[in-house]
Symmetry: C2
Subunit: 439 residues, 2 copies
């Protein structure tokens, strides 16, 4: 397809970066479609940009050099669910919600949950995580094997269904997070988990960001296997109250979830309650009712949409960093101070068990000064995180938006190593060029 509407819809739309459409969009129905397209593009030196659901936040699906976008959303079959092995095999266009709907009947689930209903192929490629990562890890930890079409059109397999292997280089982890710059994923084998016997959630208000963060550190250190531990600052709580008709106290708040046996989640919740109280938090409201829990987590997942209410007409620009957890309170507090000093509207939400947090900046895209201020804020945020021993992005990836920080984070040596790998696997630089770094 080459209509403008389709091409533009397949280029970045979720951030401040300009839309840079590919020249054509191919809807792949099977692996051979991908191989054929890649081979044709390789023969002509034309860029190939993989596309899942287009929910990435750093301009990952833009086509700055034009080329062909391969839309993988129609490759959406679940090929096998092996319940004895707790794994499944699927095509990259399956979305996380579809997968979990399909698995529910078998008492299984896949935990990684970016706020959007992303495809698994996109999630593999951005090394996505979400609210459950503190317990279940990120995509890096939950992919057993991939089938990948490389830049020459060959199909390779990066692993087996064995849970672990020491047989050579870890190609799986190399393609996880590569943002489509090394190849196109056409099949994914994922780890699954049994739906826990019992799940309980808690909402716990705190007097300040620092006390909330200190409670998080103490909780993680104490070894409580929290499944989710999310921070919402008072601005985000206010937005969620309005959007989801909740009536939470408008103060920094932790949303928690505990997974385990009935006795186990009860014990976890009690231990957490005691820790929270030590830091002046509480009272916690606990719930084991599925409806209440979904309402709560839906509100958390809708944080982005809720934020839009805070400044009607503005666009939400989400950005994320991740720091060692001991620096989390410092980093969030300094970031909030910056938001206030710069007069920005920007709620903070975070997967704080991992030291990862987001700000959602409400930007008036027609106001150049406003946009400039937002960019300045984001640059300072990344510099702050790096200075604290953190990373420019915990989960959204680099795309175009964060390329400028790669050298500062990794150093020229490591960046050169990445470039060498890119050249080795994609010598003509056709796979999603000018993302992560330029050559």
């Amino acid at each position: 397809m080459t209509t403008t509407a389709v091409r533009e819809q397949h280029a970045n739309v979720t951030t401040y970066l300009p839309n840079e459409p590919a020249d054509a969009v191919v809807f792949a129905a099977c692996t051979e479609d991908v191989q054929t397209t890649v081979r044709i593009c390789a023969a002509h030196g034309v860029p190939v940009i993989a596309w899942g659901a287009g929910t990435s936040l750093e301009g990952q699906v833009n086509a700055p050099r034009g080329g062909v976008c391969i839309d993988l959303s129609r490759m959406n079959r679940i090929l096998a669910v092996n319940s004895a092995d707790l794994d499944c095999v699927l095509e990259p266009g399956v979305t996380r919600k579809r997968l979990n709907e399909d698995l529910r009947d078998q008492g299984l689930f896949f935990p990684i949950d970016p706020g959007a209903d992303a495809t698994l192929g996109g999630m593999v490629s951005t090394r996505a995580s979400g609210t459950n990562a503190v317990r279940y890890g990120t995509m890096k930890d939950n992919v057993l094997s991939l089938k990948v079409v490389t830049a020459d059109g060959r199909l390779i397999t990066t692993g087996t269904r064995a849970r672990k292997s020491a047989a050579g280089y870890d190609l799986t982890r190399l393609f996880v997070g590569a943002e489509g710059t090394l190849g196109i994923v056409t099949e994914i084998t994922l780890k699954l988990y049994g739906i826990p016997e019992a799940i309980s959630s808690a909402v716990c208000p705190f007097p300040s960001i620092t006390t909330a963060c200190d409670a998080v550190i103490a909780t993680i250190q104490s070894g409580i296997p929290v499944a989710r531990i999310e921070l919402l600052d008072e601005v985000q709580v206010k937005a969620c109250n309005a959007y989801a008709r909740l009536s939470l106290a408008e103060t920094p708040t932790l949303f928690m979830e505990f997974h385990g046996t009935t006795a186990g989640v009860h014990e976890q919740a009690e231990l957490f309650g005691a820790i929270a109280a030590e830091f002046g938090g509480g009272p916690s409201e606990f719930s084991v009712k599925p409806e209440e829990r979904s309402r709560l987590w839906q509100a958390r997942h809708d944080a982005y949409w809720a934020a839009l209410l805070l400044r009607p007409g503005a666009k939400a620009v989400a950005t994320d960093v991740c720091v060692p957890i001991s620096r989390l309170a410092d980093c969030v507090e300094a970031t909030k101070a910056d938001i206030v000093a710069m007069g920005l509207v920007a709620p903070i939400v975070g997967h704080v068990g991992d030291g990862n947090f987001h700000t959602v900046l409400m930007v008036d895209m027609d106001d150049a000064a406003d946009l400039a201020k937002a960019k300045q804020f984001m640059a300072r945020l990344v510099e702050r995180a790096l200075a604290m021993g953190g990373t420019a992005t915990g989960e959204h990836g680099i795309g175009q938006g964060k390329m400028k920080y790669m050298a500062a984070e990794h150093g020229e040596g490591a960046l050169d190593a990445m470039r060498a790998i890119k050249r080795a696997l994609d010598p003509h630089n056709i796979m999603n060029p000018d993302k992560i770094f330029t050559l």
Copy 2:
């Protein structure tokens, strides 16, 4: 050093492969020593072989083309323990036992425990695991960042202390398991864990390998967060009884460990007991006493030495494979049948929660027919594991011994990708050449 004794001591000694010493051994005291040595070797096209404790099992530290062995065991400082972040920074020559002795006072531990007292640098490089991997993962899951001297003598850093990152290619995971073929690790940042409030262990006999494996599958599926679940076949139990003066029933047996709160481990042990009984296992003997637990796990860790008693004068040749857990019983049973049919002495022990098991073949190295039979057995074992969707090695790595299976496991395409990465990062092929694959 260039004395024959030192050179031979630094070449492989743990398996059937011949000893192929390097031309010289350099004892590095600091990163600069490593850089200087690598630069000199690079200038002269001389191979560089890193050496930690020399306990690898597939000829990883042999020097088939000669060259310089860099012994890292003197780089053994623990540089930082960040208890709030549950991480630490250390030099590669620190051994796992030293690390845990140092951490104990702070209530922390590092879970990965290959049977030998390996160095962390060696463990990183073989992607080692051990008895705790079912709960805590392997080295792949527990390294946050590395400093690596690459083939041109540059020092690069592969990550930060942040718990997760989506910033570019996962260089950390590329060096983990690379067996020193891409660079030499000179600093390691590891995840740590709090020593659990309560630990309990159990020993549970089963009527057969199949029933024991079925109990393992059911345990994992039920979501019991077992910390360790080890299978010993009746041959190994017999050897352990003799070596460690235990009096276990000589039948397939599971050694278990549970970590958690006092109530939690009690619940886990009860749930496991019920599952075991369903499959005809038991009675389980539980213990929470530290001395009893250590005695048990020491016996498990000494399985290799115990096996030597089974055939005095023979050498123990350890080999490992890993299969999807649903195929574990089949794979172990077929392997046992092969042992019997071939008249071999070869106990089986396994980290079965991951589908990983070992056979320890007792081989008379002076008897060519005996050695040939052992090699034939090992080839059939790997073929069997691959045919069941598994891997040629779950944790020992490829070295020289398993190079021949790389194409069968990965396919030529993936193997070519590995070779391309090797050439990109080590264009003159000086880093531990002719390991994992030949160029």
